[in-house]
């Protein structure tokens, strides 16, 4: 759950010491001139966390890719023989399956394409509704109206809550026979109740409302931080030229915030790919609430495990995620090379 975004590198701490060279270089000590003790310290400070990260994040990520080519139910060991076709699955276990998992996902599993579709819808709603809404809140709050602190606190409150909690809270709003919505609009009888969370045509949108409720506050705060860092002189100049607030924002502020805009978009995409908790707590991700993340989980947390198949779905998720991740990394670290 990272929210890294970026702002243009403003001037680093003023470097009063004379020197045409970039301050950064002067501060770096070359490894060669360090004492042995120092070198050990470096090794430990860097090595232990690196080891942790590699062992528990990257090694599993690669493992997912490898496992996706096997068929395994989690019991017994893996071996490198190829699975024998047309044999009962109890015997065909822990074997090499080639790309069959992917093939099955795409052609056989009735949840795969709905899950992909739902992920796309989730992403679209975030990009088109949740994030712009958050940006709108930020812009309005930035105007410094009275009561800004209260508005900000209230709009931001959902971000503090766990997504599982959000799912539970909203179940009271959406309950068929007793909930807030159905009672208020008078559709809570036994025959005319709207089944917000059970109707596969409706429930994804119902859950997306919950997700937007939270995401908007999140984006709002990020954007607000960026807005506050915009050079005030730009705005004053625009106002002196007679621009109204609307024009000031779109013509002057928005373009200047381009780096932040990009990063917020990337964060939005990543957050939408991570959607899991809400759907899982609502109905474990079935019947209209399928998502790739839930499909992965239900294939390993469950009575029967289909480790290979679940891994294949994980790889699909990984490949999709790599796109925004790469954009973010490129965006962020491009500046590293050009200090």
């Amino acid at each position: 759950m990272s929210a890294p975004s970026e702002e243009r590198t403003t001037a680093a701490a003023p470097d009063t010491s004379a020197g045409p060279r970039a301050p950064v270089r002067r501060r770096r000590r070359r490894l060669r001139t360090m004492t042995t003790r120092d070198r050990i310290v470096v090794a430990l400070l860097l090595g232990i966390p690196l080891l942790l990260d590699l062992a528990f994040v990257w090694f599993p990520a690669i493992g997912t890719v490898l496992l996706s080519f096997t068929k395994w139910n989690g019991v017994g060991s893996l071996h490198s023989k190829t699975c024998v076709p047309n044999m009962p699955s109890i015997l065909n276990n822990g074997c090499w399956f080639g790309v069959q998992n992917y093939h099955q996902a795409a052609t056989l599993d009735p949840s795969f394409w709905p899950a992909v579709r739902h992920n796309v819808i989730w992403l679209a709603v975030f990009v088109v509704i949740a994030t712009p809404l958050g940006m709108l809140f930020a812009v309005l709050l930035d105007r410094g109206l009275r009561g800004t602190r209260i508005y900000q606190s209230l709009l931001f409150l959902p971000v503090m809550l766990s997504l599982a909690l959000i799912g539970i809270i909203w179940e009271f709003v959406y309950s068929q026979n007793y909930g807030l919505i159905n009672t208020v609009i008078g559709r809570n009888g036994n025959s005319n109740a709207i089944d917000w969370l059970g109707d596969p045509h409706l429930n994804l949108w119902a859950v997306l409302v919950e997700a937007t409720w939270r995401q908007a506050g999140y984006v709002m705060v990020l954007y607000l931080a960026g807005l506050k860092a915009v050079d005030p002189t730009l705005r004053e100049a625009a106002l002196m030229d007679g621009a109204n607030p609307w024009q000031t924002f779109w013509r002057v502020v928005f373009p200047v915030m381009r780096p932040i805009n990009i990063v917020i978009m990337v964060v939005t995409v990543i957050e939408s790919l991570r959607a899991f908790d809400l759907v899982y707590i609502t109905n474990k991700g079935i019947n209209g609430l399928e998502l790739l993340s839930v499909l992965v989980t239900s294939n390993i947390v469950g009575e029967t495990q289909r480790v290979g198949f679940g891994s294949a779905l994980g790889v699909v998720l990984l490949v999709i995620s790599l796109v925004p991740i790469s954009i973010f990394l490129y965006q962020t670290f491009r500046r590293e090379e050009a200090p």
Binding site: N73, G74, V75, G76, S77, L78, H79, S80, K81, P85, N86, M87, P88, S89, I90, L91, N92, N93, G94, C95, Q104, T107, L108, D109, P110, S111, Q176, N177, N190, S191, A193, D195, W196, L197, G198, D199, P200, N203, N283, I286, N287, S298, V301, G302, E303, T304, Q305, R306
Partner: protein, 458 residues
């Protein structure tokens, strides 16, 4: 008591239990490790690998050598009432065998979801589980220990059907049953009396009654399927009524394709029932459907006694008013000969630390007094010991015993009779069906079920 001729998931067939899978689960990516031993030949397989060496700890033990030790018991009886009954059972076990029992209760569904990792990790000595293919599947993976020696002692207490339920694919016993309960149609006696309804015994009467209820302003059938599994019961009973027991069991093991005409007929009957089932089922948990029955908003509900009667007690509704009848006959060839009556029981994990004491506990559990101890506070399940008369049985339980006894054969419920992955697939298919019970959708769903079954079963 009941001569429950239950056939769990029938005789071992060509899927052999594989001993090598129970061999060490280390060597994650190392070589073949006994894969060559996976005999594809059919027939019984006497246990190789871990299974045969049950004499590691000297077979079934008497109580004296294990007194004072502690056995851990993993339990998914997380509902307060089930928890209390289970505690009564274990304290009775302690009194009888002098073995202390430490219970580890996990939420009901969580326990089932995590069973594979639980059994491979550090499981308790004993654990609660279900009979049927669901048990055989895990036994075949080498995750449970044989308890033939326990059954040598308790076998006389049970009917052959009960023993068969507890037998794995390799012919050895792995489970000691504790109770079972029937799936039947519930109704409130006072409502039926008030409105002059009579209990239907044929399909046509059933539909006619539903129609009458609807015109009287009642919901004919309370119905909920948010969890996915309740609807499987409807499929099961319709299948057994229309196509018979053998067909049903064959379908569960994918010896009959899901695209078969018989399956189509089942769905068609279900579609006939749909207008009378409570709407919005996919968003409703069964507890809320039971509440509709309690509050007399609904006329009938088809579910297990374990659930509906329990809910009546939890909600402090009028249990005396509750009654049930067996699902009506559809095909005169089969009448009302079959039903789902799932059995719960206990198993011994492969990695048990205190096997002797655990077996002593199991020996106790497989007796009349033990079942009575459990059922004393349980107002809806019934025991399996032959001739068991528990004095605390209420009307529902007494009737359950009779009704189960009348059956020629009893199934375990779809999610215990078929491969768990297949049950999962059927859960989704039934939910789709509930959304759209049209004929074209039925054909589509059958195709999907068959495709998935092929992938799962081979």
């Amino acid at each position: 008591m009941s001569d429950v001729e239950s056939t769990g998931s029938a005789a071992p067939d060509s899927t052999t239990a594989s001993g090598p899978l129970s061999a060490s689960r280390r060597n994650l990516l190392k070589g073949v490790a006994g894969a060559a031993g996976l005999a594809a030949a059919g027939g019984l397989l006497t246990a190789c690998g871990g299974g045969g060496s049950s004499d590691k700890k000297g077979g079934g033990s008497s109580g004296k050598s294990v007194a004072g030790s502690t056995v851990t018991f993993g339990s998914n009886y997380s509902d307060p009432s089930a928890k209390a009954a289970f505690a009564a059972l274990t304290s009775g076990a302690t009194t009888s065998t002098k073995v202390k029992v430490k219970i580890n209760t996990v939420d009901h569904n969580t326990f089932q979801d995590n069973i594979t990792s639980y059994l491979q990790g550090t499981p308790d000595d004993l654990f609660t589980w279900f009979a049927g293919y669901r048990m055989q599947y895990f036994a075949a993976q080498g995750l449970a220990q044989q308890i033939d020696d326990v059954w040598d002692k308790i076998g006389a207490n049970f009917s052959p059907a009960a023993k068969k339920l507890s037998t794995g694919l390799d012919g050895h016993q792995y489970l000691v049953p504790i109770y079972n309960y029937p799936w039947v149609v519930f109704y409130n006696k006072s409502e039926f009396a008030k409105r002059n309804y009579s209990v239907p015994t044929t399909w046509d009467e059933y539909i006619a009654l539903a129609k009458k209820m609807k015109s009287d302003g009642l919901i004919p059938f309370a119905f909920a399927d948010k969890d996915g599994w309740p609807a499987l019961g409807t499929f099961d009973i319709l299948n057994m009524r229309i196509n018979g027991y053998d067909y049903h069991i064959k379908l569960m093991k994918h010896e009959v394709p899901w695209t078969d005409q018989g399956v189509h007929t089942v769905f068609q009957h279900w579609a006939e029932l749909m207008p009378y089932l409570q709407t919005g089922a996919n968003g409703r948990v069964w507890q809320d459907a039971a509440k509709a029955l309690e509050q007399k908003q609904a006329g009938m509900m088809f579910q297990g006694t374990n659930q509906v009667a329990a809910q009546y007690v939890t909600d402090k509704a009028d249990l005396d008013d509750l009654d049930f009848f067996t699902f009506p006959a559809i095909n005169p060839q089969w009448g009302q000969d079959y039903m789902d009556a799932p059995t719960d029981g206990f198993m011994l994990s492969k990695k048990a630390k205190n096997t002797d004491a655990a077996k002593a506990i199991l020996e106790y559990i497989g007796t009349g007094p033990a079942e009575s101890a459990y059922l004393k506070t349980d107002q809806w399940d019934v025991g399996l010991v032959k001739g068991l008369q528990v004095p605390t049985y209420n009307a529902i339980q007494k009737k359950s015993v009779t009704e189960i006894g009348k059956c020629k054969a009893v199934a375990q419920f779809m999610d215990r009779d078929s491969d768990p992955a297949m049950a999962d697939a059927m859960i989704k298919i039934c939910q789709s069906f509930i959304e759209d019970p049209s004929t074209s959708n039925i054909a589509k769903l059958q195709q999907s079920a068959e495709k998935q079954a092929k992938a799962i079963y081979s």
